[in-house]
Symmetry: C2
Subunit: 213 residues, 2 copies
DNA sequence: GAAATAATGGATCGTTCGTTCAAGAATTTG
DNA sequence: CAAATTCTTGAACGAACGATCCATTATTTC
């Protein structure tokens, strides 16, 4: 009955996401998006309604990427090592994408904060990440790997704080050594004191011992 | 020989700063700034050259505020309690100003990152904050209040990370309890183990004991 | 008071913004 | 094939952007 779409919707969303991520919602003009996607403006408007609709679609896509990135944390034995790995991977993705920070954080810091739908999406995504963190931390506590007195929810919030604070650090003159040291410090704070060695030795380098005296 | 300026330069700068802080560089239009300052566009251009010039002036002013906020940390006996207080004060300032995050961080995450002068200003300000943190931490280590194995510079970077990560947390659905817990966790990580009681008891509530077993 | 200088107010510049119009091209269903 | 429907294309819309012009007003120095 109707003509079929010629462009690859996935590719268009991915490229729109990249443009929004790099330049922000207001910073990415329709012309930027036209260039990034290869589509004409009218095609974008046919498919997404308006700029905000395209942004929401891109944001949903981003959210899917976030969910995907959390899957290693869903593994049965996931613990502090996997959390540390998550941070490292996240930072390297930012670097690879040529982007200063998480799109959700940039959005939360931006001026489209007044939009309730966008705000809800940002909040929900943040909560999803912290929930995944929390589950892993709870398991680590149960396993004796993480401190027994940790509240998993709060510890997850703490980890979330560090995760996104690292972007602020590295873009205001912080060196990569500073970033690494912050990660080490963070997991040093979460790890259980070395009374009894934890069952699975962490495979990454972020296991400097605290309490050396 | 010439007419004297009628407007209060300090006030204009302060209001411009506020506008830029809330809406960002690109988000704050000349008309916004005209409304915020009460000046006409031409007066702004006479005084600051262009929008970027006004932003640089506002940024310099912000930097002065940052320096000023660091003075309590310069007190002879300043330690972890003062650092904790600094974080709390900073967050309450953000709240009072109706702003999501530090202007420097918002700028660093924004799109005017390519401007070398702005970038340099952001980097320098971040370094100044971390240097102040570092000095206090070094003193705390020497006093036995903070962990002996801390590298003050790295610990300062860690604190900086948390400080700005907290904005990300609280604007992506994190509760104030989450924020408080993150602060507690952070200073718990820095504080020396309770082998010997620290000389000056910290006056704030953020001194939950670690190592309870 | 006269000359010089700067602030003011209002209009307006060219550009870019997000968005839409109108017409042709393409593809599916009957 | 024909009708219906959607996509594509290029041009254009009004509004807002940063920035500037210009005549007027006010103030300071000589």
């Amino acid at each position: 009955m109707a003509r079929t779409r010629e462009f690859d919707m996935d590719l268009v969303l991915e490229r729109s996401l990249s443009a929004f991520w790099m330049r922000g919602f207001e910073g990415a003009s329709i012309r930027d998006l036209v260039e990034a996607t290869g589509l004409k403006a009218q095609s974008l408007y046919n498919a997404f309604g308006d700029k905000r609709g395209l942004f929401l679609a891109a944001l949903a896509r981003y959210r899917a990427h976030v969910s995907e990135s959390l899957t290693p944390l869903g593994a049965p034995g996931a613990g502090l090592a996997e959390l540390s790995q998550y941070l490292e991977t996240f930072l390297s993705v930012l670097r690879a994408q040529g982007v200063s920070a998480c799109l959700l954080v940039k959005t939360a810091f931006g001026e489209q904060t007044s939009d309730p739908e966008i705000r809800a999406l940002v909040t929900a995504s943040g909560a999803a990440v912290r929930a995944a963190f929390s589950a892993v931390i709870a398991a680590s506590v149960a396993r004796g790997e993480a401190r027994a007195d940790l509240d998993p929810k709060h510890a997850a919030a703490y980890l979330f704080t560090v995760l996104h604070g690292l972007s602020a650090l590295s873009h205001t003159g912080g060196t990569s050594a500073d970033v690494q040291a912050s990660i080490v410090e963070t997991f040093g704070a979460l790890r259980a004191p070395c009374k009894r060695p934890s069952k699975r030795p962490s495979k990454r380098s972020s296991n400097r011992q605290r309490r050396t005296t």
